[in-house]
């Protein structure tokens, strides 16, 4: 169910809409850079947008989206923990499921565009055992492999082909 249709349940606002409003709210003057326009949500860029490539801007937008989905998941979790009305809880469960889906789609997009991130994620996600140990091992293995292959990190404009050792003909 589209989350915007649930506004009457939560007393006026959907979580995604609230996130957008918070992000677009006027900021203190000192935090507005020369590339920003008052009231426009350009704050997913940490550097001047005009100096960023189209690929990097898309990457940044999806990173922002990923953050928003994670925040929404956390907020639904809090609401669910205190909501006694079963019917409302069912709707919240359904809505949180939407956020899970959005988060996963954002993540998959980012991983597809960032081979090193993807490789590290493959060593951590859906693994049994110690998460920290898997993380350390995956990072070490992936960064060493990346350097050996000569593939660039994210944000570059090359095709990222690098070495093809081990790639079948």
């Amino acid at each position: 169910m589209p989350i915007d249709r649930l506004t009457h349940v939560y007393g006026g606002q959907s979580i995604n809409r609230r996130v957008r409003e918070l992000r677009q709210a006027p900021r203190p003057r000192s935090t507005v850079g020369p590339w920003q326009y008052a009231g426009v949500g350009f704050d997913q860029y940490h550097e001047p947008a005009g100096e960023l490539s189209a690929e990097t801007r898309t990457f940044a937008r999806l990173c922002t989206s990923l953050t928003e989905e994670a925040e929404a998941i956390g907020w639904y979790q809090q609401r669910l923990s205190i909501e006694p009305d079963e019917e409302a809880r069912a709707i919240m469960h359904d809505a949180q499921g939407e956020e899970f889906k959005h988060f996963c789609m954002d993540l998959e997009f980012l991983l597809r565009r960032t081979p090193l991130w993807r490789e590290i994620a493959q060593g951590i996600l859906f693994q049994d055992g110690d998460i920290v140990e898997h993380g350390e091992a995956a990072e070490e293995e992936a960064t060493e492999g990346e350097a050996e292959r000569g593939a660039p990190l994210s944000g570059g404009e090359s095709l990222g082909i690098g070495s093809l050792r081990g790639v079948s003909s």
């Binding site: 100096e51 490539s53 189209a54 690929e55 898309t58 292959r149 000569g150 593939a151 660039p152 404009e157 090359s158 095709l159 990222g160 082909i161 690098g162 070495s163 093809l164 050792r165 081990g166 790639v167 079948s168 003909s169």
Partner: protein, 266 residues
């Protein structure tokens, strides 16, 4: 903005994603040398030369009592393959067309891969690159036209490498004609020829457009050194109402550190 000027091209993000994905898809099967040699970098577009660690004496030092030596380097070479894409085809792709005509990109990708392979295997004197085949100190072994005899020739090449103290595993680079011949030869002693050759070299058989004949190379590392400045990328040159002029580009150097680590099979 980078020197590739992609921001100036009348191409949407969807269009760039399509072009980059198509280029990768076409390049990876054809970039044979990269499947067999050491790849270092990419060190960036501003990287201009490979350090050789050697010097050359310079005569006539500016003052008495002083000697001079000049560092020797191997300059990187830039390869560029221009191509033109129809704007109508890019617009169709933006609307979701699955069959956009990217033929000129495919052709450019093949040609730049062939050029890279040829430079690595056969050298490029104008760019001061000595190739694997021409630098080999091993006696070459004629491959011939009879595919049934390939296992014997390849085994002899492996034996020569072992005799020279060059360890494996080894890889077999095959030019397009011999590769087709191997694929067409179904059985050899009850074993597919392709698999038989793989067993002999202990490594990959690589389809190598740009290579004449074949070559057996050691894959132990440290023998064949490819240094990338800018890895393959698509850049923007110009456009008009009908088409966008783009190019595939890379910069690299290549050198052979161990001439005895390869056997040519012309």
């Amino acid at each position: 903005m980078s020197h590739l000027l992609r921001e100036h091209a009348p191409i949407t993000e969807t269009g760039w994603a399509l072009l980059d994905a198509e280029a990768r898809e076409r390049l990876e099967p054809a970039l044979a040398a990269r499947k067999l040699i050491d790849f270092a970098g990419p060190h960036g577009w501003q990287h201009s030369a490979t350090n050789l660690g050697r010097t050359q004496q310079v005569a006539d030092a500016p003052a008495r009592g002083v000697t001079a030596a000049q560092r020797q380097v191997l300059p990187l070479v830039e390869l560029r393959a221009p191509f033109s894409i129809s704007r109508a085809e890019l617009e169709a792709a933006d609307r979701g067309a699955e069959d956009a005509d990217l033929g000129p990109l495919d052709e450019a990708a093949h040609q730049i891969a062939v050029a890279e392979n040829a430079a690595v295997f056969h050298g490029w004197s104008a760019a001061a690159i000595t190739g694997v085949v021409e630098s080999s100190s091993q006696e070459s072994i004629a491959l011939g036209a009879d595919c049934e005899r390939y296992p014997r020739h390849v085994a002899k090449a492996v034996e020569a490498l072992l005799a020279a103290g060059v360890g494996g595993p080894y890889g077999l680079a095959l030019g397009p004609d011999p590769y087709t011949g191997v694929l067409e030869t179904g059985e050899h002693g009850g074993y597919p020829l392709l698999e038989h050759l793989r067993e002999i070299v202990g490594g990959p058989l690589v389809w190598s457009p740009g290579l004449k004949g074949a070559a057996v190379l050691s894959l132990r590392g440290g023998d064949f050194l490819f240094e990338s400045g800018e890895d393959l990328a698509i850049g923007y040159a110009d456009h008009d109402a009908d088409s966008v002029q783009l190019y595939l580009q890379e910069s690299f150097s290549f050198r052979v550190a161990t001439p005895e680590a390869a056997v040519a099979l012309p």
